[in-house]
């Protein structure tokens, strides 16, 4: 009940589809009978499915690294860029992990009707996300300072590839978080949009932890 109250306050009732022209829509699916509309739970399912596809993308990168590490040329060297790099990466990991907690906290605030608390913690989450990306850029600077660029050696190539791919996905997640909470959502309840965005966010966190552990333990020859 508090969820729909929250949504109402944001000006949108559950299941409402704005009739404001909007984009190209050749199918006659606006409003009308409830049977004709995509149910909100479909958006959540859709995100779960999408995350499976995205997961395979990252799995492929890791598998490629595992295979490349053992290539007959034997030229794999672990990343040597000083302990600062691993400190920054650990800090970033902590920041991202914290953002998942703040996200969950924001949603629980929202569920109990505390809209200010919800907004505050939601913004904290996105700020942590931005901090994470800044930290990743810093990690790249450290690598460059150690003379490790994209093409320098195989492990540095994978480092840049994995972190860039993840960073791009996380940036999209930040945008999604902002849109879900603060822009009018036309096709689904705001609650659903937030559920969808937060599933994505937690998944990006989990993928980062997996990549991070791989970089630490798998990076060795």
């Amino acid at each position: 009940m508090h969820e729909s109250a929250l949504a109402d306050r944001a000006g949108l009732a559950a299941g409402n589809i704005g009739s404001g022209g909007g984009l190209i829509d050749g199918g006659g699916r606006r409003g009308g009978s409830g049977a004709a509309k995509t149910p909100d739970r479909a958006y959540v399912t859709g995100m779960t499915i999408a995350l499976s596809g995205i997961a395979m993308f990252f799995v492929a990168i890791v598998s490629a690294a595992v295979v490349r590490r053992g290539a007959p040329s034997g030229d794999w060297q672990p990343i040597r860029a000083g302990s600062e790099l691993w400190q920054i990466l650990s800090l970033n990991t902590a920041v991202l992990l914290a953002s998942s907690f703040t996200l969950a906290h924001a949603r629980s605030r929202g569920r109990s009707g505390d809209e200010n608390g919800f907004r505050r913690w939601w913004v904290v989450t996105t700020v942590l996300g931005v901090l994470f990306l800044a930290g990743q850029l810093l990690a790249w600077r450290l690598l460059e300072a150690a003379g490790l660029y994209l093409a320098t050696n195989p492990s540095s190539s994978f480092f840049y590839l994995a972190t860039a791919a993840h960073g791009v996905h996380l940036a999209a997640g930040i945008i999604a978080l902002l849109l879900a909470a603060f822009r009018p959502v036309r096709r689904m309840a705001r609650i659903t949009a937030m559920e969808v965005a937060s599933r994505y966010w937690h998944a990006m966190d989990a993928i980062w932890i997996f990549l991070f552990l791989f970089l630490i333990f798998g990076g060795r020859a």
Partner: protein, 86 residues
């Protein structure tokens, strides 16, 4: 039609058991099949060292296990929603 299918269930079990038995028997008496591996041995020697063989096997597992898991997971998802409709 459904009754027809149900009545065959006992037969189906016996057929499957027989098939499995045949497969096991054939596998047990066909060491020659392993010769296929020997035919490839020379080629594999040229491919690389132990390290690369293991790396490829691990790489195979890294691709295989998550995809198999996700595949089963998605079917689990549709199974859990089997009675849901719009």
């Amino acid at each position: 039609m459904i009754a027809h299918f149900g009545g065959c269930r006992g037969v189906a079990v016996r057929v499957i058991a027989a098939a499995l038995g045949c497969v096991t028997a054939i596998a047990a008496i066909a060491p020659g099949a392993l010769a296929q591996g020997c035919a490839m041995c020379y080629q594999s020697a040229a491919a690389g060292n132990d390290h690369s063989r293991v790396a490829l096997q691990h790489g195979i597992l890294v691709l295989l296990l998550p995809s198999a898991g996700l595949f089963v997971g998605i079917f689990g998802l549709i199974y859990s929603r089997r009675n849901i409709s719009r």
